[in-house]
Amino acid sequence: MKLRVLLAAGALALLAPAFSGDRFWLQFLGKAMITCIFAASLDLLVGYAGLVSLAHAAFFGISAYLLAGLSNQLALVNPLLTLPICLLAAAVAALVIGWLSLRATGVYFIMVTLAFTQMLYYFFNDAPGLGGSDGLYVNDRPRLGPLDFADRPTAYAGIWIALVVTYLLLTRVLRAPFGRVLVGIRSNEQRMRSLGFPTPRYKLVAFVIAGALAGLAGYLDATLYGFVNPAQVGWRQSGLLLMTVLLGGKGTLYGPMIGALLLTFIEHYGEQVTTHWNAIVGAFVIAVVLLMPRGIAGLLRGARG
């Protein structure tokens, strides 16, 4: 109960920049919230289904690039059209990649998801007309009547709504019978099968749901920045995202979101401190794995109980 109050308070606090119009906070917290959506969707896979997927960045990128394409090539700006199309594309990609990847189990699953992510990275980086390593601009950002999402506060409000909807949706799904099955699979997949659950099917559905939400994050990112590039699809992105899940505490939904906020802060200020920023991130990741395996949420739970 207290948790819900805290989360609601946090959500309301996040709404503040939309009213203050502060340019820096709008961009910064906008990015942070997008990462929250991204991280929460990955937690569905990692924390609840027990699937460590490195493919998540791929669905982010597919959706983002598709928005750029729809805007630049087809002059589509109505989000009521472009959003469903991009989400569908991400979901279909997740269906295909998920189906193929889930045929491998354990570490092999992880390897395959990484391989497909890299394949897409090379595609976005090398294919002609996609801007190469520089990426693409989104010429016309989503517009719906009086709402122009190129306008920062409007985009921010849209992102905020998306985050709240995502969180409510995921909590719903996880409390439903489907969510229970996922937890059972994570706990003891063999037992679930011998109880009559066709576990591959459930894992695939989780993969698709998570992939679609990753696509949502990608769409919002392209809207906020007006820009897409292949680096968003690389395995570094996937790795950093996994990091937010571990840092925040997997299997809690709110944990990875806290992790996402934290990492956005750290990344932003860290880059200004030193050029050898990667070493610090690397050391930080190692420290978290060794010292805080249950993440921030784990610490909070320990403090409470």
Partner: protein, 249 residues
């Protein structure tokens, strides 16, 4: 015998050159308690795993109520009414007893591809789960995480989970293994209570238990069926004595 509820014909499983199960043909009658015994390495657990669909047969067939299920996946076989318990307690450690049984019950009552309403809302599942918990005598421990149960209690929970799926056929792999005398008696009583209208295939080492509840006994040795008969017949059989090399049943 009336139409067997479960039967195997020439069932074989090889690991390289070794035949763990070799040409086993057995028929399990509906409603019977059928024990499978034999010295270590006889292939009993392998046979059970094959019946449950967890291990693929190299050759031979398995028929469930006349239907060929040889190549079926474990979940499909489970859905056809076969329950399975393992040699070591195989539960969901982090879940409470109630949630463990809940999951088992949920597998039957409706499709779990249900995303919107909270699971608790499905009252039928709760009823089934409560029934199963009562049957396995763990109703008072229902909020305890499964990993905090004693070994014997985890065995009971396993049986409870199996019961929640309301199987017609129960495959039990050494349900009494590792249990003390009193705990074993509890489990035997439990099995006696649930055997009505069900067929039990019981792999066991505990001879006292086997002879207490089994209608028929099959002895396996080196992957092959040595003999099948009533407990009395098996006890007197010279071939069986020889296979056990002096282990008096």
């Amino acid at each position: 015998m009336a139409e067997p509820v479960l039967e195997t014909r020439g069932l074989t499983r090889r690991f390289g050159a070794l035949a763990a199960v070799d040409g086993v043909s057995l028929a399990f009658a509906p409603g019977e308690v059928h024990a499978v015994i034999g010295p270590n390495g006889a292939g009993k657990s392998t046979l059970l795993a094959m019946l449950a669909g967890e291990l693929r047969a190299t050759s031979g067939s398995i028929r469930l109520a006349g239907r060929d299920v040889t190549r079926f996946s474990p979940d499909r076989i489970s859905r056809l009414g076969v329950g399975r318990s393992y040699q070591t307690a195989n539960v969901f450690g982090e879940l409470t007893c109630r949630d463990c049984v809940w999951l088992a019950a949920q597998s039957r009552v409706r499709s779990s591809m249900s995303f919107f309403w909270p699971a608790e809302r499905y009252a039928e599942v709760g009823v089934r789960a409560a029934r199963a918990l009562n049957a396995c005598r763990l109703a008072d421990r229902h909020t305890t995480p499964a990993r905090e149960l004693s070994y014997g209690e985890q065995r009971q929970l396993e049986i409870g989970m199996m019961l929640a799926t309301e199987p017609r056929v129960l495959l039990l792999d050494e349900p009494l293994a590792g249990l003390g005398h009193d705990e074993a008696k509890q489990v035997i009583a439990l099995l006696q209570a649930v055997r009505a209208d069900r067929t039990l295939v019981l792999v066991e080492h505990d001879m006292e238990a086997v002879f207490a509840i089994a209608d028929r006994v099959t002895v396996l040795a080196s992957g092959r069926v040595l003999e099948t008969g009533t407990p009395g017949q098996i006890r007197l059989s010279p071939r069986v004595r020889e296979a056990y090399l002096g282990n008096e049943p």
